[in-house]
């Protein structure tokens, strides 16, 4: 863990309590390596360490009797600043349905999340509906329909061969509005951020349904590509929140810190398993401690 490594760096020093610039730099190097090992974006890690150094200098950590602990405290604070923030809220539209659009790379966990989100909202007494706007992946519509059936949640879908994602989204919206549904969740096909046509399709769905939330679904094990892809989703269609999936594994989740730091998009929920109830509202300290190891 980082505390062990910093303990190692400062432990070799005598009890004079006086540290050199070199000692602090050695500690900062350990912080940077720990962040990179946790999959934090290269540039985000570099900036993070710069901020830590400034605070360490400002707080005169070099004169501290427990410099290792001081550095850890500063790192924790910096992480909390980036990862923390406002309480989670799902936005509400002026008139129902409030549309939540789920987007992200292939296999991130969008379809599974649609059911989790729908279940969570229904537990709060909101009538919900899910829309199967992925007409491209084999049996994606079946997947969402089955989830809906398992949980007795309503799903709007059309025959993939004779429709389009935008058509499904529009028709679902109309049906949700007619039925007084509070929340309509749009499941979309996984896509590459660099796929111009498919990003255009997402813009079309967005323009047709005006989502109050566009949630980027991000796999917790994503590496250095997180900001490259996630940033592009945000630039092109605008992302109001992130959901970190597969947090029941042992991925360190640096991608979350990277995205939050680089785009300011808040993390709203985390997925902690395949079952529909394995879904939690995000807590900042969870990711901070995983990154620190």
């Amino acid at each position: 863990s980082l505390s062990d490594k910093l303990g190692g760096v400062f432990g070799k020093l005598t009890n004079s309590g006086k540290l050199s610039e070199k000692d602090i730099d050695a500690a900062l190097r350990e912080v940077r390596l720990a962040l990179l090992e946790a999959d934090v974006d290269f540039k985000v890690a570099r900036q993070f360490v710069k901020n830590v150094k400034e605070r360490a200098d400002g707080e005169k950590v070099y004169a501290s009797l427990t410099p290792g602990q001081s550095v850890i405290r500063i790192v924790r604070d910096e992480l909390a600043q980036i990862l923390g923030g406002e309480a989670v809220e799902i936005a509400r539209a002026d008139k129902p349905p409030s549309v939540i659009m789920l987007v992200g790379l292939q296999g991130a966990g969008k379809t599974t999340l649609a059911a989790k989100l729908a279940l969570w909202l229904r537990k709060q007494k909101h009538p919900v509906m899910m829309a199967a706007c992925d007409l491209q992946r084999p049996a994606a519509v079946d997947q969402l329909n089955q989830l809906g059936k398992q949980l007795d949640l309503s799903v709007y879908s059309e025959e993939p061969s004779s429709s389009t994602p935008v058509k499904v989204a529009k028709a679902a919206y109309k049906k949700a509005a007619d039925e007084g549904v509070h929340y309509l969740i749009l499941d979309t096909a996984g896509r590459l951020a660099i796929d111009n046509d498919l990003m255009g399709e997402l813009e079309e769905i967005r323009d047709a349904t005006s989502p109050v939330e566009t949630l980027l679904v991000l796999d917790a094990m994503t590496g250095q590509d997180a900001v490259r892809s996630g940033g592009e989703f945000n630039d092109r269609i605008g992302v109001s929140g992130m959901v970190l999936t597969k947090m029941d594994g042992d991925a360190r989740g640096g991608a979350a810190l990277s995205m939050r730091s680089a785009t300011g998009v808040p993390i709203k929920f985390i997925g902690v398993g395949e079952r529909p109830d394995q879904f939690e509202v995000y807590h900042p300290d969870r990711i901070a401690s995983r990154i620190l190891g």
Binding site: L33, L36, E37, A38, D39, F42, L105, Q106, G107, A108, G109, Q136, R137, P138, A139, A140, D142, Q143, L144, Q146, L147, Q150, L192, A193, I194, D219, M221, T222, G223, Q224, D225, R228, S229, K246, D248, G249, D250, A251, R252, G254, A255, E274
Partner: protein, 278 residues
């Protein structure tokens, strides 16, 4: 006589950055750079381009599978068990392998041993349909081991050259699911007479350092033989392959480059190294 070397601190920093942002990971990057520094000294290299070329060679060497262990042997019936974490691309990669195998004239069969996830059996049935290969399946919720057992018998009866068994995604940290996988593999071992067994680990190319943990755990559980690295058609470089090959000696056999059944190729170490460090 002394030309100022352009191989300075900035050069090494840029090289480190190029590798780390490709998910090569700090440890592997540092060890590669250490080796390269020695080479620069020993071979008195002066030009950054020369050093870059040598780094590409080091990377390619690391990834070259020096074993003559065939990924999917040609002259014998093969049973291929496909494993990996959730959403890595197992089912889609299987479709790609079927495409290649059929074009080579092989008699292929699939087993839908993901009996858990919603829509999983339908998904592989659609691929089987599109590619014209039979899919052995049972109803959702049935025992994956039973499906594998059935499939092996059916494959033997129909003289199948290549039986591919799709399994449910699972995180390597979920103990009971890894136990289930061991059990399925045990069934394949016990009932695979007449078939050469291969275990294929599918790794998502966008994965960071967790990819190495996955490779370690899955190999420890079911002796993976090779890797299918997916989603390299995006902006991710798949650098975690270096640690997997370097630390575990697990060869990368195939790469995925899209969502259609034609979107794959055999792994090419030099091409991969050049894409990593253009």
């Amino acid at each position: 006589i002394f030309s100022r070397s352009n191989i300075d601190d900035d050069f090494w920093d840029e090289l480190e950055e190029a590798l780390v942002i490709s998910d090569v990971g700090v440890n592997t990057t540092m060890s590669l750079i250490d080796d390269l520094r020695d080479i620069v000294k020993d071979e008195s290299l002066k030009e950054p381009d020369q050093v870059r070329v040598r780094m590409r060679e080091l990377i390619a060497e690391m990834l070259s599978d020096s074993s003559d262990f065939d990924a999917i042997p040609e002259k014998e019936p093969v049973v291929l068990l496909v494993v990996g974490v959730n959403g890595a691309g197992k089912t889609t990669s299987i479709a790609k392998l079927v495409d290649v195998a059929k074009s080579e004239g092989r008699n292929v069969m699939l087993a839908a041993a993901d009996t858990f996830r919603a829509g999983a059996i339908e998904q592989i049935n659609i691929w089987g349909d599109r590619l014209g290969v039979p899919v052995i399946s049972q109803q959702a919720g049935s025992d994956p081991g039973a499906v594998a057992f059935d499939a092996l018998n059916a494959a033997r009866a129909r003289n199948v050259d290549l039986l591919i068994i799709d399994t449910a995604g699972r995180l390597h940290t979920t103990h009971n699911l890894m136990e289930e996988l061991r059990k399925v593999r045990g069934i394949v071992e016990k009932n695979g007479t007449g078939f050469t067994e291969r275990i294929l680990l599918v790794i998502d190319g966008t994965t960071g350092q967790n990819g190495l943990m996955q490779a370690k755990s899955f190999t420890e559980a079911v002796d993976c033989n090779g890797v299918f690295l997916t989603k390299l058609d995006g902006t991710a470089k798949g650098g975690v392959a270096l640690a997997i090959a370097g630390e575990l000696g697990l060869p990368i056999w195939f790469i995925g480059t899209g969502e259609k059944s034609a979107d794959m190729s055999a792994f090419d170490a030099e091409a991969f190294a050049s894409a990593l460090l253009p």
